[in-house]
């Protein structure tokens, strides 16, 4: 679920002062503080405050990355085939050398 990141600055200040450097506040409290008191200003780089679970090296399987990489490779190959066979060879003779 997406956390409203404009609320993160305020949420993070609250989380940090109350937990004294411990585990960040959970998602519910983030949502509450975001809805109740929209911040006047906010700071950059507070995505950590939206963390609802910590994933270690062995718990994380980057399957979404695999999907994105496969989609990218398919686009790449498709466009290259188009460029080579249609745009390049389709224009007739090219003198090389």
């Amino acid at each position: 679920m997406a956390v409203d990141s404009t609320a993160e600055g305020a949420a993070s200040s609250a989380a940090r002062t109350s937990t004294d450097g411990g585990v960040p506040a959970n998602a519910d409290s983030q949502g509450d503080s975001g809805q109740a008191d929209p911040p006047v200003d906010s700071i950059v780089g507070t995505a950590d405050d939206g963390i609802v679970r910590e994933l270690g090296h062995d718990d994380f399987d980057p399957v979404g990355t695999l999907v994105l990489v496969l989609i990218y490779m398919a686009i790449l190959i498709g466009m290259w085939v188009f460029m080579y066979f249609v745009e390049f060879l389709g224009r007739g003779l090219t003198v090389v050398g």
């Binding site: 993160e8 940090r16 200003d41 939206g50 090296h57 979404g64 990489v69 080579y84």
Partner: protein
Amino acid sequence: MATASGGGEFVDKFPDEAAVIKASFLIAFVSLGIGAFFGLVQALHRTNVLRVIDSADYYTMLTGHGVLLAIVFTIFFLCGVFHWAVARSLDRPAESALFSWAWVGLMTTGAVLATIAILGGFVPNLGMSADVLFTFYAPLQAHPVFYIGLAMFIVGTWLSGADWFLSYRAWRQDHPDERIPLQTFMVLTTMIMWYISTLGVAVSVVFFLIPWSLGLIESVNPLLTRTLFWYFGHPIVYFWLMPAYLLWYTVLPKLAGGRLFSDPLARVVFLLFLLLSTPVGIHHQYLDPGIAEGFKFIAMTNTMFLLLPSLLTAFTVVASVEHGARQRGGKGYLRWLGALPWRDPAFTGMALAGAMFAAGGFSGMINAGMNINYLIHNTLWVPGHFHLTVGTAVALTMMAGSYWLVPQVTGTKLYSRPIGLLQVIMWFVGMVFMSNAMHRAGLAGIPRRTAEPQYQNFEFLTPIGSIFELRVQIALGGTLLFLSVVLFLFNILLTSLGEESDRPVDSHLPEPLSGPEGSPRILDNLAMWTGIAAVLVVLAYTLPLAGIIQNGGGLFGGGLPVPATVSAGFDLVLTTVTSAFNTLWGVVA
């Protein structure tokens, strides 16, 4: 790990370094403003939407646009980033603040001199101009002040590298057995690559272009200066890109709420760039008749290998971002993308820059292919390509990174996150318009580097859409990009004028998921990798350079160039080696 304090803000911990970084950023942003304005004028001029300058002045603007953005903006910014990264990751200030200011001063003086020489082109009776474009090789000649300024700038970058190596050396004395911290490792490998590659442009400028522009020598070998330029001209691409990669590897995962997937993989990527960035420059000269086809083929092979570190980066960085999304509650194969902090301009800017770089990777593959390159060589396709790479992957990452970095060195909060978000999206949309139209215009055969690509009795044709539509897209895109820069500069200016805050930004960087401990220590053996990189350069360039000197009428030209063959270069090397051996033998005997 997520909330551990970084131990005070950077500006409080390293005030001297923060001042140097602020100065570097200031010069970078002033250059960005001027260069972007020139870009707007060019986009409107060559599309014939609005012509406020004489077409002869177009090339002055084009040179200013290229030099101010691709050299001054990018390099000053990356010097600021590297200064931050070294102090932060080694957790120690620079060895001498005076030395740091010395390189800032030398680079600034050089940049100002080169800019004065370029802008002199607008004043007809001044007798000073440098309309030689960013690719400043012969036979186009600039005023000596331009070359002298460039030489000072390059020497300044060498000194900046020395600054970071001195910090590393001091750190190493205190930490003899530790692995090099990742950010410092990235800075050092990038600088070694830069030292190797700038040798070419230093030789070209100091030994040929400056004496030639001063009238001390009558002629130069244009092919030699061109080849020496591209010897530097491709690695400079990676000099722009590697700081962006530094931010993608070490900052973007944090901005996404995650951790870097693998530290060793990041090290391997930077080593591959160190090895492969330089022996590929000839791929910019596929249509150069003075270089034999065989050498071009070697350059193409090296270039294709260079795709590997970028594809490794695509995997590692996207996996790190996905880790952030999953930690923030993201699920599914693609739904996790919705869990990313899209309202944070620093994250969104870098993520969009990465997406654009993926598209730039495609057009780069077309450029890199020896035969298919003929299709797009010297057309508008090429500016379309590099506005995706340096113009977005690098520039947008630098702007987005500024939203997170500038508060660290000023101690003030970003003036407005929503304006920042609007700015990065506006850049992305503007570039989608401009770059896709440039690529398509290039396929239609429209040339680059031309003030008026409109010809009598000739019509360019496009299979889909129309040339008019492409021109409108380029003009619209260029306007959006300029407005985006205005918003960026406005936001940064107001940020720097803001009140100091106890927590201007969340600057903590979490540890990687997979640290360097398990990786081979040989990865950190910088001397060995430097040696291999030098050998690869010698292998790729000795014969072509020998052939160019022999066929092009010697070091200083003068003779008529003849088409190149592989054997000509080989003959010259053989003759040189034999005569050197005979001389040596004579001395010994």
